[in-house]
Structure formats: C-alpha cells, structure tokens
C-alpha cells in the first residue's frame, strides 16, 4: 500500500489543472518523483512540489494499491483523478471541476463540495461527494452522445442543474435536491433523487429516474402508467419522453 499525501501550500486562486493527480500516475513514485509531476496554474507549468507538500508512505506496484489523500481545499484544482483506473483518492475538502472525468475504476471520496462536471464521461469506479455537487454531475462533454456510461456517483448533499445529462449507463444518487432537468437526453442508467427537482427526464429515451421529493414542473410529454412500488416505496410511474418515442421510466411521488 502506497499512501500519497498532498497538502496544498496555499489557497489557489487561478485554477490549477492537475489531471496528473491519479493513482495510476503516482504508483511506485517517490515523493520527489511525484513532486516533479507537472500541473498547470493557468498557463504556467508548475511542478506539484511547488503547489503541494508531498509525502509518501509505503510503496505500490500498481494503481489499485495507491491511496492519494489530499488534505485541504482544492476547490481551484481541476481534473483530479481524470481517467484513473484503480486506487483511491480521498479529498478532505472541496474540489474543482471535472473531478474524476473519464474515470474507469477506483474510488474518489470528496469530503466537501464538488464543482461542476464531477464524474464527466466516467465509465467505471465510484465517486462519493459528501457535500454538494454543482452542475452536470455525471454528464458529457459538449456535443458528445454519452455522458456517464458506468460506475456510480453518490452526492450526499444537493446537486445543481443537468444531473446525468446524456447519461448512457451507471448510477447517480443525489440524496438532497437536484436542479432542473436531471437526466435530460439520457439513454440509460439510473438516477435517484432523494429531494426535489424540476423537469426531470426530458428527451429520455431509456433509463430510470426516481424522484422521492417534489417535482414542481413535470414535463408535459410523459404517459402516466399508474402506481408502482420501488424498493418498498410507492410512486406514480410515467413513461417517456413520448416525443422521442422514449421508453424511459420516471417515478414520481
């Protein structure tokens, strides 16, 4: 087991792009070697040693034996855990955009809040956000057919608009409220919203959305199917979006 601890040396103001912070990239590296890995502060390349206090405990041959612990606020550090395949990242604070983008495996736990596009285009692995998540949880990049394709994202707080946009697989659980249009244009996967939301499931062709709280604005394009029980709770089941001949299932209290 290799544990890499990063402590930000300052509260970054200009965002740092650090797609290099992954278990895959750190496996088997010494603190000095990790310190030499480059991230970008705006347009300026910066070795991680300039940005973080770095310590390494133990060693690992592969990513699945690596744990990265980030102690402090990295709410201006983007792309942490991008495309990681295995291992663990524990962020004891907030994190910036695109955390866990294109993630394939492993686990990211964020103790604080996650900014937009957490788990963008992820295909596997697990992301837990203990605070709130901003826009586009598990969504895609502009113009792409699919957002999230696999894996699981759990947000224990609230999430903003467009949760699971273009989702093609996997699962998103928002324990609190979600902003407008969760599951917009989704083609698969499952979204569970513990609290309230608006306009769920527009253009859903396949997939499941369960809303346990209130829906203020229902999309006017769903066929009501009757009452159905999901995990012991009763919901009204709708099927749609009829405009796109969708067979998506929307469960609303």
């Amino acid at each position: 087991m290799q544990t890499v601890t990063l402590v930000p040396k300052e509260q970054f103001k200009i965002s740092v792009e650090a797609e290099t912070i992954t278990p895959d990239n750190f496996a088997g590296k010494s603190a000095d070697e990790i310190g030499a890995v480059v991230a970008y502060e705006g347009n300026a390349p910066r070795p991680l040693s300039e940005l973080f206090e770095i310590s390494v405990d133990g060693s690992a041959d592969a990513a699945d034996d690596v744990k990265i612990e980030i102690n402090g606020n990295v709410n201006r550090v983007k792309r942490i855990g991008e495309a990681m395949t295995a291992g663990l990242i524990m962020i004891n604070g907030d994190v910036d955009m695109r955390c866990g983008a294109k993630m394939k495996g492993g686990t990211i736990t964020i103790k604080g809040n996650a900014d937009s596009w957490v788990g963008q285009e992820m295909t596997g692995g697990e992301i837990n956000v203990q605070g709130d998540a901003s826009y586009y949880v598990g969504a895609g990049y502009r113009g792409e057919a699919c957002g999230m394709r696999g894996g699981k994202i759990t947000v224990f707080g609230n999430a903003n608009d467009f949760v699971g946009e273009h989702m093609c697989g996997g699962e998103i659980v928002i324990k609190g409220n979600a902003g407008i249009m969760p599951g917009v244009s989704n083609k698969g996967g499952k979204i569970v919203i513990g609290g309230d939301t608006d306009m769920p499931g527009s253009e859903m062709t396949k997939g499941t959305i369960i809303v346990k709280g209130k829906v203020k604005d229902m999309m006017p394009v769903y066929q009501k199917e009757g009452i159905e029980s999901v995990d012991g709770e009763e919901f009204t089941k709708y099927v749609g979006d009829v405009v796109v001949d969708g067979v998506g299932e929307l469960f609303v209290k």
């Binding site: 103001k13 347009n43 527009s202």
Partner: protein, 433 residues
C-alpha cells in the same frame, strides 16, 4: 458626396442599403437606416487619446500609443490567466489577430455571445441548426414566429427587410402573405403587430416547446390542460398551424437564451423545427445582436475549432461554457488581467462580475468612453469599424459582407493595435526565454 450601398455597423441585420452623405470627411446624413443605425453612423463623442492610470479610482493621464501598447503587452505577457473579451464590434480581420494574441498569451478569448447567443451555440452542439439565409425566408415564409425576441426594439428593420412586411417571390403580398405569431412573457411592440400573441410564463418556454413537439408528433393526448400558462387547445391549434405551414420560420432571442433552461430552450426549439420539416419546410434563426457577433463565432471556429470561450492556457484550444466563459471566470475570481476590446463588459455583465474585474488590471481598446472605461487602467482608442474602417462582417444568418469606410481618421485600427501588442509580447517573452 453620397456613398451608396453602405453597410450598417449596428445590429445583426447588417442592412447593406444605406446611403450616407459625407461632406469634408464628416458624415452629415444617413438615409434608409433605422434610428439606431443612423445614430451609430452619425457618431458620438469619443476618446481622444490613449490614457492610463495606476489606480482605478484615480484620474487618467493621456499617454502615447506606444506607451499604452507597451504597458498592455507587459500586463498580458506576465499574466497567468488573462481574459480577452469583446470582439463583436470589430471586423473579422481584427478577430483573427485576437485569436493569435490569445495563443501568444495563453489566455481565454471570449466574445459578447457569452451574454447573448452563447447558449444558442450550446443548443447547436446538441441538435444542429436548420436554417438558411434571410432572403430565403423573405421569399418563402408564410408563418413567422418570433420567440422571446422583439425586433421592433432590437432589430428595427428586420421585419420590413426580411421577415414580415417585405415582398418576395412566393410572398408577393408582403405582410398579407404571412401569419405572424409572437411568444413572449410580455406583450411587446412586436407582439402588438402580430396576428397572434402567446403569453408564456417566465421561465416556462421549455415546457411549452416540449408540448408543441408532442402535438406535432400526434401525441397531444399526454399534454396536460395548460402548459407554461398556455391552454392545451391553444397549443394544439398552434402546433397544427405550424404543421400546415409551407415555410415556417422561427426567430428567437434572449427570451430563450437568458431564461430558465437557457441553451436547453434552443436545443428543444431546434428539435421542434427538425420534426416540423417532416411536414413542410421550417427554419430557425437566432436574432444576433452586434453587427459582427456572428463573425467572431465564424472566425474563432475556423481558427480554433470552437466558436467562442476558447482557453489556450495549455497550448491547445479548450472550450467549455460554464468553465471558460467570461462570467464563469470572473465569478470564480480566477483571472489576473483582462483586455476588453470592441465590446463593453462594464455595461453588460452582472455587477458582481464587474466588481471582480475591478480587482485586476484592465486594458480597454474601444473608440468610446463607457462603463468599461470606468474600470480600466489603460484605454486605447481605435477606429470605428464600418464607418472609419473597412473589413468583413457576418450578418445574423452567417452571410459575410464587406463593410465600407466612410471617412478617414487618424486613429489606429483595432488590428493595428493588436499587431503591435503581439509584437511587443513576443519581444518580452523572447527576452525572458
């Protein structure tokens, strides 16, 4: 001297039939233009000379162009995250230089579309854009819908030249050839002139569009009795009217791009139009604001692959509104310098955004004193494009035309200023590497 076939450098209509009378190198009369276009060409008080100040609350002092340009270059060259905003009130030739400057400084280039029709581009990424040139609509459209736009106020000649009153090959009766419908949250002047006004609850356009799509798809049975404040029977009637049109045309504006759902409204509207094309011919067009805001999108797309909000910090163009637009960056306080050129962030960004611009050095390149000037450290006055400078502009339908020069002035063009800033930045960066 009367100069004919002059293009109007105000709105996206880019009217090209103006006649401008020039005497002793001064514009004395503008014919055929709307009130706004005439006002623009007749001109206003302008900034006389470059100015600088160290403290944004202090007084400006006049400086030479060289000093202002060198100082600007220094700020941009030393910046880790400069924002280059504006661009829409310039010609394409200067926009190309802007894209190059952004490469040189590894910054973000963003144009006024990000507070205007930026969401329309996001809608296009989702669904495309079935459209055409304005003459196509003028000659053919028998059903005209204005959705969340108010051309009487914002594009005063649009209705007479392209969309409503003009006569065309298949629309020989002009206004009588067309049914005009306005969707809006309030009864605008445009709505007053329409055959039908459909009042939509603020922020509920998306729901109304979805309901219309259901009607068009013969699935009205699922539509509830009222959607977005519009009764179901009205929605059915409108949906059927759209299906029955020979050439249906939807023009849309900020009522869709700036209200709840933003680009999803455009996404949904494009789908409606696409689906309607199974019945008759239908097109949709954003009512672009600045006369060449469309041109920036075109130039930026062919130069970088993306139409706007391009982040060059990694040496490769990266685009992601929500992350790389001016207000995203300003609200996160992550820029450390700004250039505002041919656009007025000061007048058109939320106060909180401007307050954040207030904390970093701001370079303004513009002929006129405006709210951005109030926030600027360096001000570099330039020529008024389309009046004092010729060059290319793209009409709202992406037809490019060549703007004419009407009078000569001593001010440098935006392009010349950018050229000099780029040269100076190369000198600074060359010396440090």
């Amino acid at each position: 001297m009367i100069i004919k076939d002059v293009l109007c450098p105000f709105c996206g209509c880019l009217c090209d039939d103006l006649a401008v009378e020039v005497e002793n190198n001064k514009v004395v009369d503008v014919k055929h233009a709307c009130k706004i276009g005439a006002s623009k060409i007749m001109g206003h008080d302008r900034i006389k000379a470059p100015m600088m100040r160290d403290d944004k609350n202090g007084e400006f002092r006049e400086v030479s162009y060289d000093e202002a340009i060198n100082e600007s270059a220094k700020i941009l060259a030393n910046s880790k995250r400069p924002l280059l905003y504006g661009w829409a009130s310039g010609v394409c030739e200067m926009m190309k230089k802007g894209v190059l400057l952004n490469e040189e400084v590894g910054g973000i280039i963003d144009n006024t579309a990000s507070v205007c029709h930026g969401p329309s581009a996001l809608g296009v990424h989702e669904k495309g854009l079935p459209t055409g040139t304005l003459g196509q609509f003028a000659n053919r459209s028998d059903l005209v819908v204005f959705w969340g736009c108010n051309p009487v106020q914002a594009h005063p000649r649009h209705m007479s030249r392209y969309s409503v009153f003009n006569k065309g090959f298949f629309t020989a009766k002009g206004r009588k050839s067309r049914k005009v419908v306005v969707f809006d949250v309030r009864k605008t002047d445009t709505a007053e002139m329409a055959d039908e006004y459909v009042q939509v609850n603020p922020g509920e356009d998306y729901l109304v569009i979805s309901a219309l799509r259901a009607v068009v798809a013969d699935k009205a049975d699922v539509v509830p009795d009222s959607v977005g404040g519009v009764p179901k029977e009205k929605l059915v009637e409108l949906g059927e009217a759209m299906k029955g049109a020979k050439y249906g045309m939807v023009y849309f504006g900020m009522g869709l791009t700036q209200s709840r759902g933003k680009y999803k409204n455009i996404d949904n509207a494009v789908s409606l139009i696409t689906e309607l094309n199974a019945h008759g011919k239908h097109s949709i067009l954003p009512m672009r604001g600045h006369y060449n805001v469309t041109g920036f999108g075109q130039v930026c797309a062919w130069e970088t692959g993306f139409a706007n909000a391009v982040d060059m910090s990694r040496g490769i163009p990266y685009y992601n509104p929500g992350e790389t637009c001016s207000n995203d960056l300003l609200m996160r306080e992550e820029i450390d310098a700004a250039m505002v050129i041919a656009g007025d962030a000061g007048a058109h960004f939320p106060a909180q955004s401007i307050a954040r611009m207030g904390k970093v050095p701001v370079i303004q390149v513009d002929p006129f004193h405006n709210p951005t000037t109030e926030m600027a450290n360096i001000v570099i006055p330039t020529k008024v494009s389309g009046v004092e400078l010729e060059g290319t502009a793209y009409r709202m339908d992406a037809v490019s035309l060549r703007m004419r020069k009407l009078v000569d002035v001593d001010f440098p063009s935006d392009e010349e200023v950018l050229d000099k800033i780029i040269a100076k930045i190369r000198e600074i960066k060359g010396a440090s590497s």
